[in-house]
Symmetry: C2
Subunit: 289 residues, 2 copies
């Protein structure tokens, strides 16, 4: 299978795992909202888990709960980000956001329970020994909490009150938390499950995460709202500093391309086995959504 | 040490563990809000962890990260419960709620990161083998997610739109999730850490959790706002069904007392070693806050 076939197949596996994890739960609006929130999306984070594991000899079935955990964590962050007190978004993946389709209380609770579900999924014995699962729990907690994703969000909020545009260094730190930490954990998770050295995947993910965010900023300027399935041009309207406002359109494109080359180079030790991960890096800056 | 001395000493240990876990994190409003949210409170859930562990021969130092984890989880639930879209409370433990002292976005993020912190705390190797820590992660996830605490919250929200007062059975199910699940996990955690049979503590906690909630309903009617440190008489004003509205004041008191007797009886196999846990059960219905 080539990269785009793999991405689609893995998205199906991950969605099935998420929906099976939500089966048999109480039939409440909050449960319906959780199911709604985990549907769709590119599943790039989940793919990174599965592809990293595959490359290191671990079959999908053993790693899929970790891929689903990352996607549940990511889904929680989107539901809470979209809240009126945060980004106040009405549209996500081309559909009404959870608080628009239900209400704010349901969105808060569904996000809360999706975070819990992420840690619950990491308890799946299929992932390996208790030591392996504990390493995944510790890694996900570090990547998503106050040292990682939430810190990125906090820096983003603080940026709105700082009274000046952020510097390139500050935006890089912000994005390293907001999207980089979780992408980094996703890329390393396969190595953790396989019991292999996570260092090459860590370097790959650091470059990929930043390239991914620069591509997001480019998409916000050059993208199509229908294809993207969400509101665009928000950053420019809000007068926010972005990689594009700081580097210019061509400068941002060049920087993203250089980061993709860096991500590809980090995989040299794996030879052709890493071709799908190389394609994922290129995809991260060529996507339209 | 008698029960109230133990409760106070344990509260100190737990607060110190929480604050040390939050040391060295980025200095942001969300981190300050997390520190603020984990201060104070009775720490009954954390005490149950430490006392269960002590009774079974495990020193506090080995169990304190699990006690801190439960209190971080509890603190997250309070911060999110207090939000305008949930209970819309201005006062908690006699102080402004997080969204009143900071803002809603900070309260959402601080709650989110406190949940993550709870799972991070369970990674502490002092708690025991990876198997023991995984059992704690699985137990906390089950108690706090869509099968436990969040389900209780969801049932509480649903109750407001059902158009009739809840039955005793429905309220019991609601409270089993909302407060019972986490109290149950707290009481069992000591046995998990000690590698002992959790069954007697599980039965103790089931009775204690319900007694605790009936006492909350009684406090809402008979309590003093200054002593309680929060707004009272909300349920009556909102016309909500409670154990008091369904059983009457004396009926609710009698039911709580019977549950405490049941909780005490569940500890028979431990003899005098369980005296502090018996006191905790009595305390749960005699408290003024």
């Amino acid at each position: 299978m080539n990269f785009s076939q793999r991405l689609a197949a893995d998205a199906g596996l991950i969605e099935a795992r998420l929906l099976s994890a939500l089966e048999g739960r109480a039939d409440q609006p909050v449960t319906q909202a959780m199911r709604y929130a985990v549907r769709g999306g590119k599943r790039l984070r989940g793919f990174l888990v599965l592809e990293g594991a595959r490359m290191l000899g671990v079959p999908e079935a053993r790693a899929v709960s970790a891929a689903a955990a990352i996607e549940a964590l990511h889904a929680y962050s989107l539901v809470h980000d979209d809240l009126p007190c945060m980004d106040d978004d009405d549209l996500r993946r081309g559909q009404p956001t959870v608080h628009r389709k239900w209400d704010e209380a349901t969105a808060v609770l569904a996000g809360d329970a999706l975070q819990t579900l992420a840690f619950e999924l990491l308890c799946d014995p299929a992932l390996g020994s208790a030591e392996v699962r504990m390493a995944l729990v510790a890694g996900l907690a570090k990547a998503s909490g106050i040292d990682g994703m939430v810190l990125g969000q906090a820096l983003d909020i603080a940026a709105e009150t700082v009274g000046r545009a952020l510097t390139l260094e500050e935006i890089t730190a912000l994005q390293a938390g907001k999207t980089g930490a979780l992408i980094g954990f996703a890329a390393e998770a396969g190595a953790v499950i396989a019991g292999a050295d996570p260092d090459p995947l860590r370097r790959y993910a650091a470059a990929l995460g930043l390239a991914f965010q620069i591509a997001d900023d480019l998409l916000d300027v050059t993208g199509d709202e229908v294809q993207a399935g969400k509101r665009l041009h928000k950053d420019a309207r809000a007068g926010k500093a972005t990689f594009v406002s700081l580097l210019g359109l061509e400068g941002a494109q060049a920087r993203a391309a250089a980061l993709v080359a860096e991500a590809e180079a980090a995989l040299a030790c794996y030879g052709a086995r890493a071709d799908n991960l190389r394609s994922a890096a290129r995809f991260s800056i060529e996507r339209r959504a």
